[in-house]
Amino acid sequence: MHRFLKYSAALWLLTTLPVYAAGSKVIATGGATSIEGGAGGGIVPWAVINGYGSSGQWSVTGAVSQVGVDDFTLNSRSISLSYDNKYELSLGRQQLQLDSMGGELNQQIIGLKYKIAGELLYSAMPQISIGLQHKKQLDFAIPAAVGARDDQGTDLYLAASKVWLDAIWGRNVLINATVRATKGLQTGLLGFGTGSDNGYQYVGEFSAVVLLNPQWAIGAEFKQKPDELAFAREDHWRDLFVAWFANKHLSVVAGHVDLGSIATFRNQTGYYLALESTWAF
């Protein structure tokens, strides 16, 4: 918790800076920042571009999050740069604390996203983006010991996001669907590929969000995961969350996560907390 609070405090201080430009995009349409960095829900990358920079505008977004489940704690932090509501570059760092076993695993993630079609709010076609995430596991000893082949890997994904205005009970609804090609074991936290299988696995990831009003949203996510490791089962991930967009600089997400079985530790459920600060110019 200490680390999360430290970075949160730093981001919070940023939001007290005098406000110059907030960016043109409508509030909440930058989404949140996923644990891998870049715009998304909590665990799913979306077609949305981070921050509130619209056409011809830049935005910089910083985010910290913490997932706390029975035997693990995942601290993530990232910074991303977006331009023209089309291009997104993100740098992420994840630290997985092995609370029961002792030790930690660190991973860095460089993400690129490019919007290829559609407009989240205004077009009948969903907003569609392609992206990649190059991940590198910085503590490869444990992943190697449990059967991982490589300490780095590159995920590719295609994401579609759309907001239906006035969809149910007069509320706006966002649906996102992402297809990802990955070699990641537990998203790369346990390395990439195995001795017996170095091929890409194709997984689907989904988010559904109801925007209760311009500032509050509730949502659910499902992240399909491969199950490639011999020593332990890997489960799909799920979460339920509440998001609060205080203004176009600060948002907070709190949720409940169900990560299933991780490295033989079963029924890993717990909380998700995330804080994002974003600036456009």
Binding site: S24, S54, S55, G56, Y122, G170, P214
Partner: protein
């Protein structure tokens, strides 16, 4: 679970049958004719203060623009009016309106509706009717 679903369905169905939505529901939610005038005036105030988009209006006859805006919102919301202006495509061609300009106007509209205490459901209904105009307005 079965009982829960049946109860929800019943509620949803009875909700529909008890209150058939009047054709001018949105018009009433927006406050009728006086509400739409306030909305147009609020929007004009926001545009006037927005350095990014105000230049698009430098040759605009504001009184006429205001009248057409009210007519259009009135017609869109099921009110007793007929929009007499040009199509969205005709009236925006040549202005080079960007995505950011369009976003700004949407934000102004949401702000003004919120200030006038238009319920969220009605705000979203109006936005849903305006959103498809994006393709006729932006980068024309």
């Amino acid at each position: 679970m079965g009982i829960l679903i049946r109860t929800l369905l019943l509620l949803a169905l009875s909700g529909c049958s008890n209150s058939p939505e009047p054709k001018d529901w949105l018009y009433q939610q927006l406050g009728g004719a006086p509400g739409l005038e306030q909305l147009a005036d609020g929007l004009l105030r926001e545009i006037e203060q927005d350095q990014q988009i105000v230049h698009h209006f430098k040759d605009t006859d504001i009184a006429r623009f205001r009248k057409l805006l009210i007519e259009q919102f009135c017609e869109l919301s099921g009110g007793p009016c007929t929009y007499t202006g040009a199509t969205m495509q005709e009236s925006h061609t040549g202005f080079q309106i960007t995505e950011a300009d369009f976003d700004n106007l949407v934000e102004h509209l949401i702000k003004v509706m919120t200030e006038q205490q238009v319920p969220v459901a009605a705000q979203n209904r109006l936005l849903a009717k305006l959103a498809p105009m994006y393709r006729d307005v932006v980068y024309r």
